[in-house]
């Protein structure tokens, strides 16, 4: 059963000041089934992150449709849905994990994770319980919970970002290079977590660099340069 259908997606950037049109991804056609995990590979600059950002609507698509079978609204085109619908979906159904930190100043790791659901109206006590549970689940060492994540290592940031996204229990999750700059030991940990997410039936699209890592996690691998799945 399909959860996401991307048809003819293209994204161009018009940089007015430079009189420049930058063509990012083009003619992307992709189907993600429920509970499936698709890995995206391709050379630097090929438009991998662009595709994820168009799905998340951080970028406005130039051409094409991104149909998503939502729980709340049924099939909806993420390329053209209203801003309020997108905000609703981001709160309840769709998660995005980047390799970067995006935290409020003077917010501890635990508060950061709690805020994700406090912002949705959950009370502080329940949010704290949930945050502790999810931070343990993703094995962020407990002595880091109370400090500001600015000093976290790449692997710790990633686990924090995963916890921040997963506390809302999204059914569609996008991961932009979750294994970039991680050592082999941490990669195994991440692989473990992604398998756990799969067991929870989360549908996922992730950008990866090493094919080896994707074995045993990704069901399919999509090569963005030729717009087709690797066999």
């Amino acid at each position: 059963m399909e959860i996401l259908k991307i048809n003819g997606l293209a994204k161009n950037f018009y940089l007015h000041n430079h009189g420049l049109e930058i063509k990012s991804c083009h003619n992307i056609n992709l189907i993600l089934n429920k509970g499936e995990f698709i890995g995206i590979v391709g050379p630097s600059g090929a438009g991998k992150s662009t595709v994820l950002k168009c799905i998340n609507r951080s970028y406005l698509s130039t051409h094409g449709d991104i149909f998503y079978d939502s729980e709340a609204f049924g099939w909806i085109n993420l390329a053209t849905a209203s801003e309020r619908e997108i905000l609703y979906l981001r709160n309840h159904e769709i998660g995005y994990v980047s390799q970067f930190l995006n935290v409020m100043p003077r917010t501890t790791a635990k508060e950061h994770v709690m805020n994700a659901i406090i912002d949705m109206g959950q009370n502080t006590e329940a949010a704290e319980l949930n945050a502790c549970e999810i931070l343990s689940y993703f094995r962020l060492p407990e002595n880091l919970w109370g400090i500001y994540p600015a000093t976290f290592s790449g692997g710790e940031r990633l686990r924090l970002n995963l916890a921040h996204a997963m506390i809302k229990n999204p059914r569609l999750l996008m991961l932009d290079e979750p294994t970039a700059s991680l050592d082999d030991k941490t990669k195994i940990l991440v692989k473990d977590m992604l398998i756990k997410l799969k067991d929870r039936n989360t549908s996922m699209i992730g950008i990866f660099h090493d094919i080896e890592f994707m074995e045993g996690v990704c069901d399919k691998v999509f090569n963005i340069s030729d717009g087709a799945f690797l066999s």
Binding site: N17, K53, Y59, L60, F73, S82, L87, P105, T107
Partner: protein, 277 residues
């Protein structure tokens, strides 16, 4: 399910013009000023909606009309034309710029709270912090001194002003404290809509962080809708769900905040965002 939300505030075609205007104004504007007749179009056809529980950010350079929009909404002056409706005032059926001054006072005191860019506009600097809050509560019709004091304590605690200082006048307070007193005053009557104009401008970074965190908590706790003006993109990034970019009294573009920051469409927004990176 469909979202089908009613906006808390809906503004349509707001115009605030200084000067008499001429037939050729719109074709003769240099920034927001008509070259022929010299009229200034401080707000030039602004339309927007604020939805339940959201923070709508407004960014734009100095002079783009942000404060003009906010002060029109708070009835500080009568706009040239346009309409605004509130969900909580006659079910959005009446243009609030068309009702009597008495009705407008009622709206200000029960449905809206305002935090001005300059604290001197929002506070009586010589009255105590507690009296500033009491004044707002009285304006909404309450007369009970006991509940008023209780409410003042509660509000000042919420913004982390020590109650031991509630009888002091804001003129003795730091800029950050004054803004927090303004915020507590604005919240006094549980408004549905909070108008915040540059609340963190001019505060040092650690105080800014405190005020931002306070706004986040207020939003989460009271589910209040917020119109947040700032020229600081970092503030907008942290707090706003959606963002409107203003330029020369007009809306240059609007969208989800992360989209505005990461994929700006308008030449002005691109300059604004890219000059920061």
């Amino acid at each position: 399910m469909s979202l089908n939300e009613t906006s808390v505030l809906s503004v349509k075609n707001l115009v605030v013009r200084y000067g008499s205007g001429c037939d050729a104004c719109q074709e003769s504007l240099e920034k927001n000023r008509c070259k022929l007749c010299g009229s200034v179009w401080a707000a030039n056809d602004i339309s927007l909606d604020v939805y339940p529980g959201e923070v709508l950010g407004i960014v734009g350079e100095s002079g783009s009309g942000k404060t003009t929009l906010m002060r029109s909404l708070y009835f500080d002056f009568q706009p040239t034309s346009g309409s605004a409706t509130l969900r909580d005032y006659k079910n959005s059926r009446k243009n609030i710029w068309d009702v009597s001054a008495a009705e407008q006072r009622l709206i200000k005191n029960t449905i809206m709270g305002m935090v001005y860019q300059s604290p001197a506009l929002g506070l009586r600097m010589d009255y105590s912090a507690a009296s500033n809050i009491a004044e707002k509560i009285i304006a909404a019709g309450s007369r009970n001194a006991g509940t008023m004091t209780k409410r003042a304590v509660e509000l000042l605690e919420a913004v982390e002003i020590m109650t031991s200082r509630m009888n002091e006048a804001p003129k003795n307070f730091s800029g950050g404290m004054q803004q927090r007193v303004q915020i507590s005053k604005a919240l006094a009557n549980n408004p549905a809509l909070l108008l915040l104009d540059e609340v963190t401008t001019g505060l040092d970074l650690s105080v800014q962080a405190k005020v931002l965190d306070l706004i986040r908590r207020i939003k989460a706790k009271y589910g209040i809708s917020i119109l947040l003006v700032s020229h600081d993109l970092a503030v907008i990034r942290m707090l706003a769900d959606r963002t409107i970019v203003m330029l020369d009294g007009k809306i240059a573009e609007s969208g989800l905040t992360d989209q505005i920051l990461e994929d700006p469409q308008h030449v002005y927004t691109q300059q604004l965002v890219h000059s920061l990176i």
